[in-house]
């Protein structure tokens, strides 16, 4: 028995879903079957262990097809299949034919193609096919992001995504072709005894970093994630950006890494974590805020990977293993809770028609289940026990603290990283208190929020699936630990023996106890409140007789203290019409956080390139005599070069 037949079923399921995209139920069943067997195949490969290698002897583009499913691929495949399944279930109701008759069926085709090509990226053992699958999945994602392309901002977001994605892919072309030319083959595999390949790591870091959305390269991410349909945002944020992480993990495991590689990755990770969450705090758009949290969580993953690389370079298996395990588990965890949060945000958007947090509020009344599930996801992403986010952050912390206790050179990086990781956690908590409070609690701030309704059963089921996975990893982390360790061992086989003993059983027991105690305390207090008698009154607002929903604290004011601290990079723009005179007519305040990197770095650079190109274009003006002069000058220059070259 091998994962082969299961993968074949998965492939057939996705293909059948594509073929039957016009019939929603058929598509759903076929795609779910595909995802379930993909999940089974990934889990099989991760649990049972042997690497599945498949070479059918068919050539594609001059290279024979070679698929391989080892622990690292399987680790990411499990996440892909789980989120793909949840997203499909959600989409069947969220992007239904009735509401989107023109865009729903093609959307399902692109969806299935996206899942399939991402799976191919994970399994390709040939550089050329890796690039093909990479490019195809990027294009599928483009068509999914631009489902509502009658909107200008959606088109702009799609275009930015495509441009950024291709910048990264260009680097990957350079990476794979240099790799192929130096090794003489497109076949991918472990080549750690070739130190001359180490500089290629920088190309991979840029190419995969753009996809992963690490800090200065994240420019495409917020608008793409915000403007895509929510199930697409979930898979983009949960899985697609993890393809960049997969590439980094895969090739830092197979190829030698330059001495500075680990330090740079860890530094970028810390920058992404802190600045990602700082930008998130400045957002007013619910989905854009969640998108910036992807930057933050990619940062946490990269801190784990970076310290693993430092450890590998220095031969400190113990804490390197912990850091990488934490980073990898965070790949799963982030996929799960961010998927859940994006689906929850989609339900809000579906129910109210707006993503503006200043228009929302009090949604728990209309959508209590969504509010509860979103709150669970918020607690998980803030890294709170007893949920899964804490487990992976705890592992990364353990790695960092052990590195600091080792007092080697790595400690100098581990101390600031641990402190900044702590601040990231507190910042994320502030941000999610804000989101939950402003969106779901309090009073509705607009008529749209007043008219909200609970989402349907399929959408809820998809969210519950992801929430259950979050709770499962939080309460029983020890069950998932062998899978993570197996993946770590696939990354550095020599670390297999050094697998650290981590008290995850104890942590799991503490988590279960905490959950039970919390449930008991809530029950007791609720009973006591009912027993003692309950009266209702208006909120105390310093004696105002008629409190209005507009008096509530807004998202911007809530985050104001923190965005003030980060004003040096957030550069918030304020348009204020101050209160003037004794009986002021109008006063307004409008605050907006721009995309600093995009607007202050990428756009000026782009317009400079445009100006330069325009200047060069003056050379072409249609005057024949001048062209003949160019020709003569060119020939003369060549002749000079030939004479000079010949003289040497």
């Amino acid at each position: 028995m091998s994962p082969g037949p299961l993968l074949l079923v998965a492939f057939l399921g996705l293909t059948a879903g594509t073929a039957g995209c016009r019939r929603m139920r058929f598509w759903l069943v076929a795609t779910l079957t595909g995802c379930a067997s993909g999940l089974a195949a990934g889990a099989w490969a991760l649990i049972a262990g042997p690497v599945w290698d498949w070479e059918p002897g068919v050539a594609l583009g001059g290279q024979s097809v070679h698929l391989r499913l080892d622990a690292i691929s399987a680790f990411f495949l499990v996440l892909l299949a789980l989120l793909g399944g949840a997203g499909s279930l959600y989409a069947s109701e969220y992007w239904a034919d009735r509401a989107h008759p023109a865009s729903a069926p093609p959307g399902r085709v692109w969806w299935n193609a996206l899942l399939g090509f991402m799976a191919l990226v994970l399994m390709s053992a040939n550089g050329l096919h890796f690039l093909m699958a990479w490019e195809l999945f990027a294009v599928c994602a483009y068509f999914l992001i631009t489902r509502e392309r009658h909107k200008r901002e959606v088109r702009a977001a799609g275009w930015l995504y495509l441009a950024a994605s291709h910048t990264g892919t260009l680097c990957l072309f350079a990476f794979f072709t240099s790799l192929a030319s130096r090794t003489g083959s497109w076949e991918l595999g472990p080549l750690r005894d070739r130190p001359d390949l180490a500089p290629l790591f920088w190309l991979a870091l840029f190419g995969f970093g753009v996809k992963a959305g690490l800090f200065p390269l994240h420019v495409w991410l917020p608008s793409a994630h915000a403007n895509a349909p929510s199930h697409v945002s979930a898979i983009l944020s949960g899985v697609a950006i993890k393809m960049g992480i997969y590439g980094l993990v895969r090739f830092s495991g197979w190829l030698p890494v330059p001495e500075a590689g680990g330090w740079v990755v860890a530094g970028l990770g810390v920058a992404s974590a802190v600045l990602g969450v700082a930008f998130a705090l400045g957002q007013h758009d619910l989905k854009r805020l969640l998108a910036y949290h992807s930057v933050e969580n990619i940062g946490i993953i990269l801190i784990g990977l970076g310290f693993a690389l430092i450890a590998a370079a220095r031969g400190d298996a113990a804490w390197g293993c912990l850091a990488l395990a934490g980073g990898l588990l965070h790949v799963w965890n982030h996929g799960l809770f961010k998927g859940l949060l994006f689906l929850g945000a989609g339900s809000v958007l579906h129910a109210t028609g707006t993503r503006e947090m200043s228009q929302l509020g009090g949604l728990w009344r209309a959508m209590p289940r969504t509010a509860l599930l979103f709150g669970l996801g918020a607690a998980a992403i803030s890294g709170l026990p007893p949920l899964n986010g804490f487990v992976s952050e705890w592992l990364v912390y353990l790695g960092l603290f052990e590195a600091a206790s080792s007092r080697g050179p790595a400690a100098w990086a581990a101390v600031p990283a641990a402190i900044l990781l702590g601040m990231t956690g507190a910042l994320a908590l502030a941000c999610f208190v804000k989101v939950c409070g402003v969106v779901f609690l309090g009073l509705p701030r607009s008529a749209a929020a007043q008219r909200a309704h609970e989402c349907g059963p399929s959408m809820r089921a998809a969210m519950m699936l992801l929430a259950a996975a979050c709770v499962a990893i939080g309460l029983a982390p020890v069950l998932f630990w062998p899978l993570v360790i197996r993946t770590v061992a696939a990354w550095r086989p020599e670390w297999n023996a050094a697998a650290p003993s981590v008290p995850l059983t104890t942590l799991g027991i503490v988590h279960v106890a905490l959950a039970l105690m919390a449930a008991l305390a809530v029950a007791v207090l609720g009973w006591l409140v009912r027993r003692n008698g309950l009266a209702r009154a208006v909120t105390w607002d310093c004696g105002y007789a008629a409190p209005s929903a507009r008096m509530q604290y807004t998202a911007g004011s809530f985050a104001g203290i923190i965005t003030g601290w980060f004003a040096w990079i957030l550069r918030p723009r304020t348009h204020a019409q101050p209160v003037v005179g004794l009986f002021p007519k109008r006063a307004s305040l409008d605050q907006h956080t721009p995309e600093t990197v995009l607007e202050d770095v990428v756009e000026p650079a782009g317009s400079m390139v445009m100006r330069l190109s325009t200047a060069v274009r003056r050379l072409q003006h249609g005057r024949m005599s001048a062209y003949i002069l160019y020709l003569l000058a060119g020939v003369a220059a060549l002749a000079l070069l030939a004479v000079w070259g010949g003289a040497r």
Partner: protein
């Protein structure tokens, strides 16, 4: 069986003794001001009364308004149970429980701030915003303090980190942790528990709309948090592990009292800081912890085991010294808000 008794004894310690700390602080404040002050056991009377009282809930709130305080209380009690108690050690000690401790405090904060936002009141929004914003800096200081202890002892469990002798940077660490204690528990100079102006409060304003048993749970949780930070501070600064069990327990109790008196004195002698100054003081606390980290790093890398040579008599006064050094930045910026 004895383990069960141990758990019960500790639960009783935290449940019963925690509300004493605010009583002591209030007595000290009254004594400095020349008043008689409320009885030492005032909080117990308040809790007993609130426990029996009916509840008035805002029309805006969700069920989370009652669930939040309950979960926050459980999180604070769990964090307290993770702390070792001098010679008695901890009930449960495992590698990395120090981080669980920090994140349990974060869980409590999440629930309290969430329950505050639930009312839709702008005042409570302000309080919650301040609480979560200042917590960023104090969490950085706490993580740095834990890193200091981890570097000193090479361990990641609170039991082993707090048990041995105080490190060379103990006084600085105590000063930093004392400022964090004041900030996390919303004492002067960060917040005034006695203030009557909603606009200027942090913690008190978040609980404006709570009443009855939920308010009792919040007040008790706050006192547990105060005692918990005091216990952490005392054990991080004093070499309790070097003393025999009896004197160590006595020293622990005496120094806890000392911390409470210190808080009372700070509250009597200092004005509340303007809100703009709060981050500066918290950054000072963080830097103090960072200095402690660097000191202990330097000391432990220079190969001789100096940790044992620390004079216990010198450390005993670190509680009061902590109060003194915490007062310095407050005095410079102590403008009345």
């Amino acid at each position: 069986m004895s383990h069960g008794l141990d758990v019960l004894a500790r639960l009783a310690f935290w449940l019963v003794l925690a509300p004493l700390v605010p009583g002591i602080i209030n007595k000290v404040k009254a004594w400095v001001a020349g008043r008689r002050g409320p009885p030492l056991f005032q909080l117990y009377f308040d809790l007993a009364k609130l426990w029996r009282k009916g509840v008035v809930l805002s029309t805006a709130v969700s069920p989370g308004h009652v669930a939040g305080p309950a979960i926050a209380w459980v999180a604070l009690m769990s964090a307290a149970l993770l702390l070792p108690l001098g010679p008695a050690g901890a009930i449960l000690s495992f590698r990395g429980d120090a981080l669980l401790f920090v994140y349990l405090l974060a869980l409590a904060r999440f629930c309290t701030a969430g329950a505050a936002l639930d009312t839709g009141s702008a005042f409570e929004g302000m309080g919650a915003a301040r609480e979560v914003s200042y917590a960023i800096l104090s969490e950085a200081a706490v993580i740095t303090a834990l890193l200091t202890l981890a570097v000193q002892t090479g361990s990641l469990s609170l039991g082993a980190m707090l048990a041995p002798a105080a490190g060379p940077g103990a006084a600085v660490l105590a000063a930093g942790l004392f400022v964090v204690l004041l900030a996390e528990n919303c004492r002067v100079p960060f917040d005034d528990p006695n203030t009557h102006l909603e606009l200027t409060m942090v913690h008190e304003v978040m609980v404006l709309d709570h009443s009855g048993p939920p308010l009792a749970v919040i007040l008790h949780g706050a006192s547990v948090k105060l005692l918990l930070f005091a216990t952490l501070l005392v054990q991080a600064a004093l070499p309790l592990g070097q003393w025999p069990a009896g004197p160590a327990a006595g020293l622990l109790v005496i120094s806890l009292l000392g911390v409470a008196v210190g808080v009372g004195l700070v509250e009597s002698l200092l004005a509340r800081l303007a809100f703009q100054r709060v981050p500066l003081l918290l950054t000072t606390a963080f830097i103090l912890c960072l200095f402690a980290l660097l000191t202990s790093w330097k000391a432990s890398t220079s190969s001789e085991a100096r940790q044992g040579a620390m004079n216990p008599a010198e450390c005993r006064c670190s509680g009061t010294r902590a109060a003194h050094s915490a007062a310095l930045p407050g005095e410079s910026g102590g403008k009345r808000a």
